[in-house]
């Protein structure tokens, strides 16, 4: 990883997110907001249906980074803005989110990775970055 330079592209990641994944993430993260498991509640607040936790999408974006870096301890910082919901249907296929990452800066042995997350052809995160110690 020490020869990583600006423009380096990380191995991409695609995840098919199902309702079961959302339930598992809800339990793991202790985020039991019903918009992530109840269509009734989700539609009552104006959503098309159950949506993925923004933090779940952000966690997957960082998994792209840690799969590459091999050590979560190398991630010094991470951030993301949640711009569009990922609607997760109640079926076996789920919602496919496609992640790609590019090194956009290297300074003093720390790489900035900018991650793009796309669902249904549109980005769902903005300014998704991670600072990774090389």
């Amino acid at each position: 990883m020490t020869d990583v330079a600006k423009g380096y592209e990380l191995p991409p990641l695609a995840v098919d997110v199902t309702r079961a994944d959302l339930v598992r993430y809800a339990g793991a993260s202790l985020d039991f907001n019903p918009i992530h498991w109840s269509d009734r509640v989700a539609t009552s607040v104006g959503l098309p249906g159950v949506i993925a936790h923004g933090m779940y999408t952000m966690a997957l974006a960082n998994r792209l980074v840690t799969d590459w870096a091999g050590d979560a301890g190398k991630v010094l910082a991470c951030s993301a803005r949640f711009t569009r919901p990922v609607v997760v249907p109640d079926d076996d296929e789920g919602a496919r989110i496609e992640f790609s990452g590019t090194v956009t800066d290297v300074t003093d042995g720390v790489a900035t990775v900018t991650v793009t997350a796309k669902f249904d052809g549109r980005t769902v995160l903005a300014k998704a970055t991670a600072q990774v110690r090389l």
Partner: protein, 149 residues
């Protein structure tokens, strides 16, 4: 109606310390499909120079989500939980969280402003270890959607 800007700078003291366990790290890692040995195997973590298994980069959301409850339970702030949306999130790790850490969270409202009929809160969470050393600084923007938006 906008949130009261006099709440800018208000700090909520830490609650009961949270103990990070190997089991919770493994559960969280599994939920996000993270199979890296340093987050599952204490030996692999030690070989990489860590004290114990390492939490994934967004693991500490477990602690910082509690701020929503804290804020929603402050009757003076008057936050409408049903209209609350997570706008953005960041974590700056001063050191990695590992199993065995005992952590406390102090929550501070950094900013409140209204824009296009919505209220925005910027909330900082300072996470410290047993020795009082800073472990992570989290920032969340929470959006309270307006009645007519």
């Amino acid at each position: 109606m906008g949130l009261d800007q006099s709440f800018i700078g208000r700090a909520y003291p830490p609650g009961t310390p949270y103990r990070v366990s190997r089991e919770k790290i493994a559960e969280f890692a599994k939920a996000i499909g993270d199979t890296s040995p340093v987050s599952h195997d204490p030996e692999a973590a030690r070989a990489a120079g860590h004290r114990d298994v390492v939490a994934p980069p967004t693991f500490l959301i477990i602690l910082t989500l509690g701020i929503v409850d804290v804020l929603a339970n402050d009757p003076d702030l008057g936050l409408d939980y049903g209209r609350l949306v997570h706008g953005d999130q960041s974590f700056t790790h001063h050191r990695p969280a590992t199993a065995g850490d005992r952590l406390t969270v102090t929550t501070t409202i950094e900013d409140i402003f209204a824009r296009a009929g919505n209220d925005f809160l910027t909330v900082r969470t300072d996470i410290a270890d047993d020795a009082g050393e800073p472990l992570c600084t989290g920032r969340a923007q929470l959006v309270v959607r307006g009645e007519d938006v």
